[in-house]
Symmetry: D3
Amino acid sequence: MTRPSGRRPDQARDLRITRNFTCHAEGSVLIEVGNTRVLCTASVEESVPPFLRGKGQGWVTAEYGMLPRSTHTRSAREAAKGKQSGRTQEIQRLIGRSLRSVTDLAALGERQITLDCDVLQADGGTRCASITGACVALHDALTGLVKKGLLPANPLRELVAAVSVGIHEGRPVLDLDYDEDSNCDTDMNVVMTASGGLCEVQGTAEGVPFTRSELNALMDLAESGINGLIAAQRRALEL
Amino acid sequence: MTRPSGRRPDQARDLRITRNFTCHAEGSVLIEVGNTRVLCTASVEESVPPFLRGKGQGWVTAEYGMLPRSTHTRSAREAAKGKQSGRTQEIQRLIGRSLRSVTDLAALGERQITLDCDVLQADGGTRCASITGACVALHDALTGLVKKGLLPANPLRELVAAVSVGIHEGRPVLDLDYDEDSNCDTDMNVVMTASGGLCEVQGTAEGVPFTRSELNALMDLAESGINGLIAAQRRALEL
Amino acid sequence: MTRPSGRRPDQARDLRITRNFTCHAEGSVLIEVGNTRVLCTASVEESVPPFLRGKGQGWVTAEYGMLPRSTHTRSAREAAKGKQSGRTQEIQRLIGRSLRSVTDLAALGERQITLDCDVLQADGGTRCASITGACVALHDALTGLVKKGLLPANPLRELVAAVSVGIHEGRPVLDLDYDEDSNCDTDMNVVMTASGGLCEVQGTAEGVPFTRSELNALMDLAESGINGLIAAQRRALEL
Amino acid sequence: MTRPSGRRPDQARDLRITRNFTCHAEGSVLIEVGNTRVLCTASVEESVPPFLRGKGQGWVTAEYGMLPRSTHTRSAREAAKGKQSGRTQEIQRLIGRSLRSVTDLAALGERQITLDCDVLQADGGTRCASITGACVALHDALTGLVKKGLLPANPLRELVAAVSVGIHEGRPVLDLDYDEDSNCDTDMNVVMTASGGLCEVQGTAEGVPFTRSELNALMDLAESGINGLIAAQRRALEL
Amino acid sequence: MTRPSGRRPDQARDLRITRNFTCHAEGSVLIEVGNTRVLCTASVEESVPPFLRGKGQGWVTAEYGMLPRSTHTRSAREAAKGKQSGRTQEIQRLIGRSLRSVTDLAALGERQITLDCDVLQADGGTRCASITGACVALHDALTGLVKKGLLPANPLRELVAAVSVGIHEGRPVLDLDYDEDSNCDTDMNVVMTASGGLCEVQGTAEGVPFTRSELNALMDLAESGINGLIAAQRRALEL
Amino acid sequence: MTRPSGRRPDQARDLRITRNFTCHAEGSVLIEVGNTRVLCTASVEESVPPFLRGKGQGWVTAEYGMLPRSTHTRSAREAAKGKQSGRTQEIQRLIGRSLRSVTDLAALGERQITLDCDVLQADGGTRCASITGACVALHDALTGLVKKGLLPANPLRELVAAVSVGIHEGRPVLDLDYDEDSNCDTDMNVVMTASGGLCEVQGTAEGVPFTRSELNALMDLAESGINGLIAAQRRALEL
């Protein structure tokens, strides 16, 4: 019994990280996870949202979007519909929380960094790819602030990355593509730091509920997958 | 070192479930978890949303809202602002998924049940209370369809309930109230069925990331808490 | 010829006023008029809307909502539709005007009190119940400001209450319930103060227009009904 | 003590009704009441809104708007703000109800007539002028349907008109202009048919509440004012 | 081969400009171009939009709307739909640019003038009529500022007007009415100043593309048409 | 006096057209014009919008968007703001019209093709690049329909492309980049077919109005520029 892609259960998809993909943003990363491609840009703004003004700390936030034809069939453009779906909002809240969990917001000072994650081509796992790519873009933007003398040191405490795992035809597998994702019983997204700290664990039974031992097997797969992603981030950043 | 409420780490809040709280809905439950009070109504509609028409199955969905002054300070009314927040949409998607995971949608036939969960008074844990209360309202609505002869048997496969757990001042605790929730390092919502199957595990590090062993301790607490909730649902439903 | 409820033409429904129904608001009243149940909360804010800034006076305003399943069949949630209906806006403007007409806004100082009237269960007369209940919540909130030493005296000049009257099957009747309201020829809402001053008279012919003498008969009924409501407000407030 | 305009207390403003003011609509009336000018068009559509389909009756509805600079200072354009104010919705509901109360909707058949009332210049009393003018436009549109052989007889049962009355500096006065309207204690709009039937009575105390005897005096003034308006409608329509 | 209206190819429609059509605005012009009638008001506000604050210059902007029944069949009211169409926004941007191109914004000082162009009756060419009429309203508003001593001289550098031209049944024609506009191959709007400077040239092939020599023929027609419009503006303004 | 980029007045920017840039769309083209990069996808849908149903013809339409950080400083995401700007709507209407002008809609049959033009990186001329790139994507999508046997022949009558020209520091120049575009007196976009037919001519004076002879010089530049673009389209399509 093989996966639709022919991958082994613990085999992640090929990963490619291209820095400076576009020229205006302070950080700009194209991340390719198999056929999933997300453009992640980091924009620095020298002010913070109203609820933080005068508190001497910074903010990191994220926005997420899919190009209308990034998917198999065209989806309506959210700007034309006049609102972002619940799914979009849920994803951008997740990306923002994940990156804030590794950033020293006090050390950032009263500035905001916005991570825009725009999916050019979708084949499953876009939210995880967004987190992994946005972390590299954020690192670049923060390094830029250090180089300009605006910050004494990079306030990113450590790298963070994310992967999806799931139970597909009764078996735990790593890094679901669209075919697996739309057919699996349980789908879990895990966000973890370089030092192995968990930032987010979001497991959902699409059909049959899952057990504690399945949860453990999925967590094991996710940890090994994320270690691979963080190694790739380090290579891309030449750290 | 005690909890703000004086509860033991593994002690849940007092729970009260009042059925038939209002008179029009097919199911109407007031659930009180400590000072958190949520009115959960189940409304049966003899049609399904467009994407399911003609597929011979039903649908269960949920909507969530907080009365403007259910909270310590007044929040703006979402109807007046003209849109639901990302948080609201995330919660109502979670409630809907949780209840669908225990409902035999094919057995329900081409009808939709909407669970409205409206928070009258908030003191932490409103999404979990909503799931636990909505399950009872859904049971009542489905029993009503059986009594009317519209269904041969209740399509609810088993009961489902939810609880929050978290790491507060370094210690895993069960069933966070507002004081704990706004101060804890890690916050996790767990949705589990009567037979111990996991529907949702959503853990978030608000500050310091958490470890695998903390994840396990939280899962243990959550399981024991949910078993208590399901016993209370059974008593309320006289099952 | 009797009324659907069996009441006499000049007989109001049973009334119950519960103060401190929820715990966070400065005033919180559950008013039950027959089967109609409205939760009225008063929230004090230490600032005024922009058009009043620096004018040395306060403001009293109201918002109104119906829970989706407060009615016989479920209505769409206004927060989900993204806008408040014309009916909702008309009602909340009426509640606000009625309460401002008995409040000494200059004596209130530069603060705003918002009355949220949320219908938990509807059986006709929700706007009138909202006004009658909100007046008690407002009284509690203002008394609280006096107790805290923020105001020298309660700026509520007198109590105000509201009732509906109508011509049902050719006969003037007091306090319409849903069955009567959806079948009557003329429907009139009257808002009156404890001293008998009229704040609002809103009569509408749903079918056949009404005459001056019918208008007079309806006004007589309304006056006697409101006197009963104000007596009940006094008992609830122990005045 | 005179009125700002020098009019007697029971003196209405000059009235001018111009039919066929624009060329496309089935009825098009410019009504001028003193300096208030409203363009009222009636548009016939050969279908009814969804809630009436197949019920064998017609519908009459209204929309209301003010041009941004119809007022002393420019108001924001509602189309640009993206929503109609509560006041706008309240007024267009009032106009629609008033005209439906004199139309035999069954005789109209399954068609809808929309009355658009657009204020070109405002000097108080725009909602009353809208009703009075829209009645003439509706009459013209219905006559047109008779002339085309689509209806055997005009389904307008009788004419209807509206006027505002109020208590200004302690004295009941007829037909308030802007100066009086923004300064009066009580403001009342009365909608009455040619045969003296009351369709709407909407009295509001802006400051001091009003008494039953003031209500009576205002009703007397309104009746005489509306009789004058209906005579003018008859002249304009050559009835 | 004649035009539907019987006009010669180079013959414009009758033009009428009525100043002071309404009483509140600083400039108020009714422009009638054949059966097209647009009310153009100029409103002066003693502040500028945020992006210009403190820059020592003024701003001229425009808004455009069509009354729902200005057209052959009723169009939905944009305020009720909750948004302005792309066409509306395109037109109001064009009107604003055209008028700014002849106004010395620095000389205007930190104030804004808003031109509201509302179509009372439409028969083609409403955007061009709006520009031509708004220019007269703007002149009146600016003259008013000079008369009040708020400006030393009128900052309008010169008059500006607009006309549509098109290729109808193979022949270039001036000033399209609705019948021609809805049937022509190419439609071009030209905005030109009194001294012959071009502000806007917007040509669109609705069907077959057009040639350079057709472009030239259309420009010739437009120039002669605009000269006639500017002569009429001068007469209206008694310049 | 040289251009900021050092180009000659009649020198266009380097152009690169990459087909099949993403994998799901029926046509997918990345067009790079200097530093401007736009992803143009063509999506085929086997139905037409309501206004065309049953008329035996197809439709071609376009949507346009800029990624938030495609520009020098981050712009707000239109999906988050809840509406598309006037500029966005104007551009997508222009793209749609341009492509419809070269498509035989009757030959297309009852299907719709949507061109999504999303700007990844902006350096001036994004609307022109969108048209030029979308034409190639449209060609690919139509060729695909022919290959699948759904159409007997490609309904694209001829290629179409667009370029901007302008008067910069008094001199007509071809293909404005951002530096020139934000500083030029006149900006004109020209859309032309392979056979030299004009689809759109949109010239705007940003500052000083322009003359007929400048219009002619700009048209000459545009024609030569578009001929170059169409040659590049042919090479990319191997025609």
